[in-house]
């Protein structure tokens, strides 16, 4: 660094005001890169208030966590940034969750395709049961203490918990159902059986959310899942038909479950305002 030459104050202030001609401005710019003395002389040309204001911006931008892929997709889709962050914090709206559901359903669909005879029936049963349960697990993990990193913040936030719960449940349902729907296309002999899990799944989800007004969401989901597995397995075994639990009787029952849960939930929703049962 040769510090023999320095820009004088007059020249620097002319440069800062934008008045200096291009050639001398370029000369100063080249010099500034290697001369601390002249940089310090130039610094007062920028108001301290501006420097402080931009620094605050830097602090905020570096403290805020990086937006994850889910949040970026939501923002790109035009979702408001505060809602995007609340949604992206949902444990069951993470890429790892999507992968887990895709893998479980993918393997079941694959097995239904390649397994011989009775094995294929078992795989089909497995697929339908998992497809119906995946959204239940997702909804249970979408809110409540322990799993949701923003749970305590959520309760204290000036936003109705009911609304957050509804938003997250819908978002989880949409993604879970989309994944299950895509996996169903891979089932052999794609027919009504491939979407037979839809109504039962919705019924189980609503039942879980309703039960969660009394007990922890995860416990509610486990109770619902166990009951569902027991019923589905026993019906299937009794009729020796892999999709027995998903025929019209099962569908009507699922519909009834949806209606009853919705009615109970609309009466009990006030419970969510104080945080779910812990």
């Amino acid at each position: 660094m040769t510090a023999a030459w320095h820009a004088d104050l007059q020249m620097l202030s002319a440069y800062a005001d934008g008045g200096l001609d291009d050639v001398r401005a370029s000369s100063i710019e080249a010099h500034l890169l290697s001369c601390e003395t002249c940089r310090d002389l130039l610094a007062p040309a920028v108001p301290a208030a501006t420097i402080d204001r931009v620094w605050q911006g830097v602090v905020i931008a570096t403290v805020a966590p990086h937006a994850g892929i889910v949040e970026r997709v939501l923002l790109r889709a035009g979702v408001r940034d505060d809602i995007a962050r609340l949604l992206a914090a949902t444990p069951s709206l993470r890429v790892s969750w999507f992968l887990a559901e895709s893998l479980a359903l993918g393997f079941a669909a694959f097995a239904a395709n390649v397994a011989p005879g009775g094995g294929a029936d078992a795989a089909l049963f497995l697929f339908l049961v998992i497809a119906a349960l995946a959204p239940v697990a997702g909804v249970a993990a979408a809110f409540g203490p322990g799993l949701d990193p923003t749970y305590e913040i959520g309760i204290a936030a000036p936003m109705r918990n009911e609304r957050l719960l509804l938003m997250r449940t819908l978002a989880v349902l949409a993604t879970s159902l989309a994944i299950a729907g895509l996996a169903a296309i891979a089932l052999p002999g794609f027919d009504r059986a491939a979407i037979a899990w839809l109504l039962p799944s919705l019924g189980l989800c609503l039942t879980t959310v309703t039960l969660a007004t009394w007990i922890r969401p995860v416990v509610a989901a486990i109770v619902v899942a166990m009951t569902w597995l027991a019923v589905a397995a026993s019906v299937t075994a009794a009729r020796s038909d892999p999709v027995a639990a998903f025929r019209s009787g099962g569908q009507v029952l699922a519909l009834a479950l949806i209606v009853i849960s919705a009615l109970v939930l609309s009466r009990r929703r006030v419970v969510y305002e104080g945080g779910v049962a812990a």
């Binding site: 800062a16 934008g18 291009d22 370029s26």
Partner: protein, 176 residues
């Protein structure tokens, strides 16, 4: 205000370790000249402030990528000018500063200073038309690619190339 006597490279190493105070020291030291230099290339003060903020956020995240080659100010400038071009690409409506057409008369004293720094080159550059000089400034002095210079100056890439060629020819003749 943080006062740290450490050199730029030491500060940058500290920033890479997550030292926020080092980032502030670096910012206090380098934000002012960066802001002035960017202001000469973009006449929207709000945009310049955003670019300075972006630059130091990028320094915070990318301090580990500084390889110790070249001066830290030049590294910061490289980030700053590219952030500015990114912003301009997204909102081309942002007005470019008009190249001043009326020459500021150069005093004899300044002429001498200029001679010390650049020799005949300064005079030769001064004779270029403002359009050609802007291209030389963007490509040679700011070290931008043709594409980046085109975005910064708001002209097509082809025009940057022809102007650069013409400027080279004129400079060669003037210095011959």
């Amino acid at each position: 205000m943080t006062v740290r006597a450490d050199g730029d490279e030491a500060l940058l190493r500290a920033v890479a370790q997550g030292d926020r105070e080092a980032l502030e020291a670096l910012y206090r030291r380098h934000a002012p000249w960066l802001m002035v230099r960017l202001s000469r290339r973009c006449s929207d003060p709000g945009l310049v402030e955003e670019v300075v903020q972006d630059t130091f956020v990028a320094v915070w995240r990318g301090a580990g990528r500084y390889r110790g080659t070249g001066e830290v100010p030049a590294w910061i400038w490289g980030i700053g000018i590219r952030r500015l071009i990114d912003r301009l690409r997204r909102s081309p409506a942002a007005v470019m500063r008009e190249v001043p057409h009326d020459e500021v008369s150069i005093s004899a004293e300044d002429q001498v200073l200029l001679g010390v720094e650049h020799g005949d080159l300064g005079t030769a550059l001064g004779r270029l038309s403002p359009e050609l000089r802007a291209v030389v400034q963007a490509t040679v002095l700011d070290g931008l690619t043709t594409k980046e210079a085109a975005t910064l100056l708001g002209i097509p890439q082809g025009t940057v190339k022809t102007r650069a060629a013409r400027a080279r020819r004129e400079l060669r003749e003037a210095l011959a």
